[in-house]
Amino acid sequence: MDQFHFKVNLKGMIDLLSNHLYSTPQVFVRELIQNAVDAVTARQKVDPVHMGQIGLELFTSDNASPTLYIEDNGIGLTEQEVHQFLAQIGQTSKNKEDTQDFIGRFGVGLLSCFIVSDEIVLLTRSSKEPKTIEWRGKPDGSYTIQILEQEMEVGTKIYLQSKRGFESYFTKARIQELVKHYGEFLPYPIQFYDDQPIQLNAIRAPWDMNLEEALHYGNNKMQMNYLDVIPLYSLSGDANGVAYILPYSIRINAKKQHRVYVKQMLLSEKVEGILPDWAFFVTSILNVNELKPTASREEFSNDKRLKKVQKELGECIKRYLVQLTKTNPELFKKIIQIHYESLKFLAQEDDELYALFIDWLPFHTSFGRLTMKEIRDQSKTILYTSNMDEFRQINQIAKAQSICIINGAYVHDTELLQRLTSVFPECQVKHINPNSFMYQFTDLDLADRRKTYDFIQIANQVLQPYQCSAEMRNFQPEDLPALYTTSEEALFLRTTEQTKEEANDLFSSIISQLTSSKVKPSYAQLSFNFQNPTIQKAIQSTDTKLIQLIVEMLYVQALLLGSYPLKKQEFHLLNKGLISFMERGLGE
């Protein structure tokens, strides 16, 4: 069988790299430093006392594009290695057995230089043979190799002249900034040769600092005022770092991005998925030695080990929070106030943390935002509604009657409440809806009932077209004349009516049939308040027309108070009612 090879169009490949694989052209600086670091590491393997050194310089002149120069005293390349590695895309000089000692995994690294330059010139001398080799590569894939006469120290030197349009990456300030950005925590000295050599390494990396220093570092670096800092460690990823607690709340579905270094070289500032999903209240700086970056080297391959690292780092945050409840409850309280959504997510997933956190977690109640502890202190019977609409209906009166009701319509809330008795067996958790709640209101006695009979009779007639029935009860607050309550089914019915006003004929008739076949269409209810002075006067009236008008207006008012969008009919009712009252007023 004959064997053939694909012809790879290198120019197209570079276009692909620059436009799709790397998020920004500036990564060529990272790739250059990375190759230098790996070369030094390789040399130290054979010569442990060798002192690695990396240097950069920028050459500028008025009539030529600027050129970047980078040198290292690493292991260098032999002539054969040059052919082998620089000539073939995807080939890496790093020995397969000990890849974990090197940062790079892909020989594509140097290719990223073609994004900003039309020629790479590389001089190298290997520690294994006394030859100085010059390699010149072009983006079309052609290259030349020459053995030079001149002597050179063991190591590699690269010259890179800026392509037109990329000069902005070739200034002294930019190069220094980029080297620091990617490599300030690298273990070998990196110098920029200006009039004086400038050391670009930082004195210490955040993962080597004590917590106080690390907090200070983070605040300065990010111009933030983080609440606290958490040490992070993962055995399976050989990862070390710190997580900063954000001083503001963050959207649950916002991207959680972390600053991650691999073997002390910056991988990306925007790595996702290295911490568990619930940990969206922290941002972290991490150095990882044992995770595989993807080809773009801007995130990690999503494999089993990543999951394990994620879990271990999550454990660090959990441990910290558990400790904090004992050592610094004030700070814990502050964290909860800002990040309760994240912590609810966490409590929902973990029994131990549930027991620890639940009392501190805030819920939306008829008294505003209260913690579970505050809610439990009010009553051993915990009442909650499971949706927003039920809560809104009940809220008005619950407040007036000093009854605490939790709005359990938010994500996790109902589940968290239902588990409450596992920690506090003395508590009773009860789901209520508007009907069961109204049921508690006292009925009228017989004498009062007789007084309201006619009024309710008329009200029922008036409200019938609106799928609503009337009743009279005693409730607080006194100044609330009527309350509109509805069940989920009745509310759905209301929605269908509202939709029929808009929908086309076909859908309208289908919706009608959809609802008409239900066993008993449940009605909404308008509860008039016998305690209310206006109602007291209204029931004494003998003017049927006036009572009708009053019922209509109270109905619309109750809808508005309950924040229900009005149907067309009801808008009409409101207009008609207002005009009638005006005319009545003017007529007298």
Binding site: R251, I252, N253, H364, R369, S386, N387, M388, D389, A409, Y410, V411, T414, F492, T495, T496, Q498, T499, E502, A503, N504, L506, F507, S508, S509, I510, I511, Q513, L514, S517, V519, S563, Y564, P565
Partner: protein, 349 residues
């Protein structure tokens, strides 16, 4: 915790399909309705269409979509045409779960769907599939065969179901037509795990259970039952498949049937999708008849609904469906489910 529209939508996007998410979206819709913000009204309703369909609340999807379609017809720039048609397709598909809607109306809607698909440059691939589904529901094998042939012949397009769903749908039709071997051949990629999606292989496993028992392939049926149960366990929106598992266990494994009954009766009672309710009740009735008095006492039932209520509601629905569709299949099906279970139990219980 302010109830602003964006906040509610954010919370909704985060929530898994089901009641919480529906509740949040409905509140967002009310909020948008009060403020008469058409874009917001539209966005929240479209999200509700999607959520309701995957949470087993087709009726809410139909109503929300009706509003959106009316707005879309007034101002087609408000939303992406393809998404609009894609959702219409789901809505018509769900419509089949409501035999209480007059057949003529359902057919009229299918024609409207077809017309709109044509107008937007799509073929009748999905339309023929729907016609075939409807024929299956009305138990008209000739018509099923007719539309099945048309559907398979028609090229698929961007409004057709995904590859896995198409295979699953074909399998289902072939099983209905009694062609088990052919069905198994079509289902091959599904059963080998090469084609899958949100509801596949789950529903294919479910569809195969009884036909396999009829063909005396108990071991195979049992294998698919286990796999299927694992996939739908603790999930919402798969009641149709649960009913198939319930029916299968009523034949083969009484204790499992009891636990399925206990766990899913509340969801069936709560469901507004009439056909699903009816199908669950039909199996539940047969299941109940099969239990002896001792077993009956051991079954946990909801307080408010007795088996008698369930039977009554089932019969009411059957009559209603038959009346709306000018047929007798729904009344007959109750007995058919019962006798099929009895027959298979003689071999497999």
């Amino acid at each position: 915790m302010e109830n602003t529209f964006d906040e509610l939508m954010d919370q909704a996007y985060l929530a898994p399909n089901g009641r919480v998410k529906i509740g949040l979206l409905e509140e967002a819709i009310r909020y948008a309705d009060i403020h008469l913000d058409v874009d917001a009204q539209f966005e929240a309703r479209m999200e509700l269409v999607d959520t309701a369909i995957f949470s087993g609340h087709g009726e809410k999807a139909i109503v929300a979509f009706a509003w959106c379609l009316a707005q879309y017809d007034k101002d087609p720039d408000i939303w992406n045409e393809h998404q609009m048609m894609w959702n219409y397709k789901w809505v018509v598909d769900r419509l089949l779960l409501f035999p209480d809607i007059e057949l003529a109306k359902v057919e009229e809607m299918m024609e409207d769907l077809k017309k709109r698909f044509m107008q937007t440059g799509h073929g009748p691939h999905f339309y023929y599939f729907m016609k075939q589904e409807l024929a299956m529901l009305l138990d008209k094998p000739k018509e099923v065969e007719h539309y099945y042939a048309k559907w398979i012949k028609e090229p698929s397009d961007s409004l057709s179901d995904c590859h896995a769903c198409t295979l699953a749908n074909q399998t289902k039709a072939l099983l209905y037509l009694g062609k088990l071997d052919e069905a198994l051949a079509v289902a091959q990629p599904i059963l080998e795990g090469r084609a899958s999606c949100h509801s596949v292989p789950h529903r294919t496993y479910g569809d195969l259970l009884l036909p396999l028992l009829h063909a005396n392939h108990k071991a195979e049926a049992e294998k698919y039952f286990q796999k299927c149960y694992e996939l739908v366990y603790n999930q919402t929106g798969f009641l149709e498949i649960i009913i198939q598992l319930f029916q299968y266990t009523t034949i083969t494994n009484t204790p499992k049937a009891i636990s399925l009954f206990e766990n899913f009766l509340p969801e069936a009672l709560d469901s507004d999708e009439s056909l699903i309710k009816y199908n669950f009740y039909a199996v539940a009735t047969a299941f109940w008849n099969m239990l002896d008095d001792q077993d009956k006492k051991a079954v946990r039932q909801p307080e408010l609904n007795t088996i008698e209520d369930i039977k009554q509601e089932m019969n009411r629905l059957a009559h209603l469906f038959d009346q709306q569709n000018q047929t007798d299949v729904y009344t007959k099906r109750i007995n058919h489910v019962q006798s099929e279970i009895n027959e298979l139990r003689q071999t497999f219980s």
